[in-house]
């Protein structure tokens, strides 16, 4: 059952001992001890497990680990490094937070916080292709992510704030 797969997560290559068909989520959590991606439904319905695969949001709970070998995975833990890389800077220590994480703190988005890792991952995907999203753009892009505490209005606010910071950072 055990395989000799290797996966690249947050800039580092890891050996995987799980079976090829094991969903990526369980490898990230149980072998790599990353706690950003979380189990919410196991059915790709809620987005709590989201990670970036080559910069695009992916549901790790239904993606077999074998499908992501040779590609680049980013979890919430990897967002600061991703931001440093985007600005072609060496990661500082401690790493400067991604503008989305900073905005999440400043706006005070989380309530229970369980869904927020997936929310920031999806927002990172959105802002990588749409640097000035409108409210409708944000509502459409985030629609696949469920929050039961009702933090949607504050997520909307935080994404706008992060977009403004990132636009300045690039200029």
């Amino acid at each position: 059952m055990a395989t000799q797969l290797k996966i690249r997560v947050n800039g580092h290559v890891h050996d995987v001992s799980a079976g090829r068909d094991t969903p990526l989520l369980y490898v990230l959590r149980n072998e790599l001890h990353l706690i950003g991606p979380r189990f919410g439904c196991g059915l790709a319905q809620c987005g709590a497990c989201s990670v970036l695969l080559d910069g695009k949001e992916l549901r790790s709970c239904v993606t077999p680990v074998v499908a992501v070998t040779g590609r680049s995975i980013t979890t919430l833990e990897g967002l600061p490094a991703l931001w440093a890389e985007k600005r072609r800077r060496k990661p500082s220590s401690p790493p400067e937070l991604h503008p989305l994480q900073q905005a999440w703190i400043e706006v005070g988005v989380p309530q229970c916080g369980y869904c927020q890792s997936g929310m920031m991952i999806q927002a990172a995907d959105l802002l990588s292709t749409n640097t000035q999203p409108t409210e409708d753009d944000i509502r459409a892009a985030m629609n696949g992510h469920l929050c039961r505490c009702g933090t949607y209005p504050k997520i909307l606010k935080a994404i706008k704030r992060a977009a403004a910071v990132m636009a300045k950072g690039r200029a």
Binding site: G40, T75, P110, G113, Y114, H145, P153
Partner: protein, 791 residues
Amino acid sequence: MTNLFEKEFSRRAFLKGGGALIVGFALARVGVSDSAASPGAPLPISNDQVDSYLTVHGDNTVELFSSIMERGQGTRTSLLMIAAEELDVGMDQISHAHLDTSTTPYTGLAGGSQGTSIGGSFVRAAAASARQSLLGLASANLGVPIARLSVERGVVSGRGRKVTYGELIGGKLFNVKIPEHRQRNDLGVFQYVVRAGLEPGEAPAKPVDQYKLVGKPRPRVDVPGIVTATLPYSGDVRLPGMLHGRVVRPPGQSSLQNKATPGGPFGTNYTLELLAGGGQKVLSVDESSIKHIAGAQVVRVGNFVGVVAPDEWNAIQAAAELKVRWKTPSSPLPGNLEEALKAAEPGLPASTPIPGPVSPLLITEMGDVEAGLAKAAKTVSSTFRTSYLLHGPTGPHNAVAHVTPTKATIYHQCGPNYGLAAQGVAQAVGLPPASVREISYQGSSFYGGASTDQDCPTAAAVLSKAVGKPVRVQFMRWDDMGYDNYDAAEVIHVRAGVDATGKITAFDYIAHSQEDAAQPPSAINTGGVYLIPNRKVVGNVSPRIFMTAPLRSPMDRGPALATEQIVDELAYATGTDPLEFRRQNMTGNTRWLEVLDAVAKAARWKPGRAAAKLSDASLVTGRGFGFGTHAYGGGPQGPGLDFRTLDPTTPAAAIADIEVNKKTGKITVKHVYAAVAPGLVVNPARVEDQVIGTAVMGTSQALMEEVTFNESNVTSSDWVTYPSLRFKDHPNVTPIVIQHLDAVPGGCGEEPISALFPAIANAFFDATGVRVRQAPMKPAVVRHVLANASH
């Protein structure tokens, strides 16, 4: 570290009346060692000692022990603010200790709108007493009278001399009792309990006008950890040698009636029976069906079936593939829910493990309803319905249990009743409650309790006991949805009348609902806001279809939906603006008027009769108002009692702006204005979060949430079969939090939900001229009421 452990040793030995206790419980980032864990009885820590709540360390930092779990509402930050305020230390000098039944005193429910209001009073009393004690020590130490001392950031100064709290008491115990307090009981204004605690400003607590922290907005202390994935949640706990477990059962629970057994309603071990099999008996288990899965092992205890495996994915597959034959349930679920709920159940026998009220329950009676209706110039009469609702955390519950022959430790997110899960585990694995220790982490919020938060650790413990190793159980999405204890559905009949001067003359309210949680309809949400001379409110206990448990604002949605629509109907019948009609009928309680005026102002309410601008367009808009709160109306109440005195209860008012697509039947809530007046607001920014959160959750529940079932079992088992409001359709929210520094703090995590249900329904009438009297107001329901109204 050694010092800390020695300190902790003496603290616990003292608090528990002596006895050798091993400490040194070490918490790693994503791993926990419980090798040295000691068992602790549920709620073993004395409630009347400062040392139960506070430890001052030599480095002049303070550790607070409270049993209020953070459930996403910022309550633990608010409690730190209260303690820091009373002690005069900075927020950077104080932190919360881990919630652990072997070290933490009981500080009330983390629910029922009580986390900050009542939990805060325990913390305030401890901190105020600690400060007094520290001033006494400082006076002796510095040779300066107490009256000449001042404190800043835990440094006591007087006559040019200084000493820190840490220098005064670091490493030592206070050995000081905290004041007692007379508190209104949950279940009624006329019952009081005496417990430890102080209200804001109540001596020896600090006068409210000297507050520096409390009452001002503050960020939550845990948010940076959440946003950077450095705060471990319950789901991140791993123990050495741990196996992964899953429960095996049919896809959704069957009727509770199937659980009746000759030995009592739930047999001798009802904790386990409630969890097992959905009321269905196991006929056979084919263990060979999973023999191809590495390390998978079946555990069967009575009708409980589970699997364990070293690898989590293997455990999930084994649970899915294990062949189990279940006996078909003998009692079907009702085809007609309304009829089933109205088949009133007689008073339950005293031996019933979950106490229920006697039916029917008279909540309040004033004057003569029939005479009042006879006197009315106009009368209205309607039936309202709500559905069973799911708690539905984003992440289903998870728990790690380590059971040995003599003790058990469980790691999970505890529910509002701290220590309750440990009691269920004790029963299921046959250990005395004192031998089960419960350690709690943050987790996905479940907005209520008493269901999966007990079932999941019980399942983990039963599996751990069977295999002799620590076991982690992560409930799957269908475990959470199919086996939750739902919020009770209701059927409500209301008749009311108004006289020629626009005064309400009579209000007659009869509800039918399961009331397992002993929560009759609130006397406030059933017309208590208004001065009605003839009023009667009756709750009938329905037969138990499912296990039910309170869900954020329990037993408030139906009453508010019914009452505030009836009041709107009376306003319409008299040709009056809905807000003006309310003003002329209200009791004169200024806080209710205040929230009404606040939302009206924020929304720029234009007075006028509802449904004045109806249109033939398929897309129409409307605006509606509603009042609501969360208050229990039970207890020893009788005819003639007036509930105007039921403070402190937090009033809420909401205005909803909606859009109705008459063709598709889809309602979209575009904007919610919601106001609360909770009395003293400890952290206004976090209360605004609660108003926003409850507005979004209330919209979701009012428009689309409903537990569905067929004859044999529950069929809503994921986010497709139980839809929840998505990002695209969420309303913009204008939260209004009214601060009253001089008032006792009330709740604020539930109240706007019940105000919003009728606000949306009244907006629907404003938009269409038609009443929608049931929730959820799904497109099919909307199309139905519109079609019926047009012939």
